[in-house]
């Protein structure tokens, strides 16, 4: 999905507004949204599903609401998608049907353990990476209608593998309940002039993490992909 969240490379949002002595939460409702999102995610779906829920917000709303409003929208969308919440319930705040959670609610001790141990995205799968550090690659220009972590700004661009990160869950399938499809994850370095303009002359680059299915080999001479 080529969504409004895919912001990399836009130049229309003006200066960056900072806040002195910014609190962790600006108001009590932000704190509550943060907590609910962290604890409901396991009931409603995966982190990838939660990200995709926010990506499906109305684009104008996405741009005109604050961060924890995105999370709030995400909880509502994902709760509905999961079948555990209904529109009428979200509107009223009162449970109107019984739904069976997939697991009991987390207790504080489990919360402590979850924060401490995290939830690694690596999987013990021995899939030999196709690419090695130093290899020239091209980010494929893929038409993906669902969730993807291949931003538009790198699609079709050539870069060089700078790290091999091991085998990680693939968000494009994970976000849609289509399995973890673990595969090699790479860090790829793209030069600024390749990404942003052949009229640029800057010593800058972007490093980004890309899964194997996003990449193809690219001969150094720079032949474009041909079917």
């Amino acid at each position: 999905m080529n969504g409004i969240h895919d912001l990399g490379g836009m130049t229309c949002f003006g200066p960056i507004v900072r806040e002195d002595d910014e609190p962790v939460f600006h108001s009590d409702w932000e704190r509550r949204v943060f907590a609910m999102n962290m604890l409901s995610m396991g009931q409603f779906g995966s982190l990838d599903q939660a990200r995709h829920a926010i990506e499906r917000m109305d684009p104008a709303a996405y741009l005109s609401t604050s961060y924890y409003e995105h999370w709030l929208a995400g909880i509502e969308i994902l709760g509905r998608d999961s079948g555990l919440l209904m529109d009428a319930e979200i509107a009223s705040g009162r449970s109107e049907h019984t739904s069976t959670p997939s697991r009991p609610p987390l207790d504080p001790e489990f919360v402590d353990a979850m924060v401490r141990s995290g939830s690694p995205s690596t999987r013990p799968v021995s899939r030999r990476p196709t690419f090695d550090v130093g290899d020239s690659v091209r980010a494929r220009n893929l038409d993906v209608r669902g969730h993807t972590r291949l931003p538009r700004y790198v699609r079709g661009k050539r870069g060089v593998v700078s790290a091999v990160h091991g085998t990680h869950v693939f968000p494009d399938t994970s976000a849609h309940g289509l399995g973890e499809n673990p595969q090699p994850l790479y860090n790829v370095r793209f030069e600024a002039d390749e990404l942003w303009g052949d009229n640029l002359a800057r010593r800058d680059c972007v490093h980004i993490d890309l899964w194997e299915d996003y990449l193809e080999a690219s001969p150094v001479e720079g032949r474009s992909h041909e079917q």
Binding site: H5, L7, G9, M10, T11, C12, F13, G14, I16, V17, R18, E22, V24, F25, H26, S27, R32, A35, M36, L39, S40, Q43, T65, S66, Y67, E69, L72, E76, L84, E89, S92, R94, S99, L106, P108, F110, V111, M114, R116, S117, G118, S121, T122, R149, P151, Y153, A163, H165, H168, P171, L195, W196, R202, R203, D204, C205, V206, H207, I208, D209
Partner: protein, 219 residues
């Protein structure tokens, strides 16, 4: 969003307003949001999907226990301990774990080192990925469209806004956190800090320097 905001289209002068900051919400808007949040919270509690004590606990952890003071200790240790620094650059998750930090949103850490030749800066263009165990939750500007959109295409203008001038012959490396790898910038140790202790050094290290938008200033 207030009507005043909606009717005010001349944002090209001095930049757009910043609806992305909850701080800019009116009392009415915050009240409406409190109510909406209250409804969903009641629902999750009533349905047995979450427990109030667990909600309180997780908010407490991120409001009080985790924050950039953790990352600052990692940086200070790297400045004073060359072997630690080596381990940090080779396997950041393990080295950071030596100091007791790790876990959620920091499972796969990478530390990138600023040098006189290279300046690193971190972003998540697609959402808001950030190394929670060492920096806590991200500031609003890190999650704003303005930062996420522009730092990849024009990092030097972004750094300038943060007061960070980068010479033309220095390479700016932008790290876009598109996967579950989380990045922490190891800033350059400022000159004139040779006599400081590790704890004193840690106090110099601010959040923004570990995101890479600023440098660590000399004391």
């Amino acid at each position: 969003m207030s009507n005043d905001h909606d009717n005010d289209h001349d944002h090209d002068h001095g930049g757009p307003p910043n609806p992305y900051h909850a701080a800019s919400r009116s009392d009415d808007e915050n009240r409406a949001l409190e109510e909406r949040v209250g409804r969903i919270e009641s629902l999750l509690l009533e349905k047995g999907l979450v427990r109030q004590d667990a909600l309180d606990r997780i908010a407490d952890i991120y409001e009080n226990d985790l924050g950039p003071m953790n990352g600052a200790k990692v940086v200070a240790r790297a400045w004073v301990d060359a072997a630690f620094k080596q381990r940090l650059l080779e396997d950041a998750s393990a080295a950071i774990g030596e100091l007791g930090y790790g876990g959620l949103q920091g499972e796969h850490m990478v530390v990138v080192e600023n040098t006189p030749e290279v300046h690193n800066v971190v972003v998540c263009t697609l959402c808001s990925c950030y190394p929670w165990p060492v920096l806590g939750l991200p500031p609003a500007w890190y999650k704003s469209p303005a930062y996420r959109s522009r730092v990849v295409i024009d990092p030097r203008s972004v750094l300038e806004e943060f007061g960070t001038a980068v010479d033309d012959d220095v390479e700016v490396r932008v790290w876009d956190s598109s996967a579950e790898i989380r990045y922490l910038v190891l800033p350059e140790r400022p000159t004139g800090t040779e006599t400081l202790t590790e704890d004193q050094l840690a106090e110099l290290v601010e959040r923004d320097a570990m995101i890479g938008v600023t440098r660590v200033a000399a004391p």
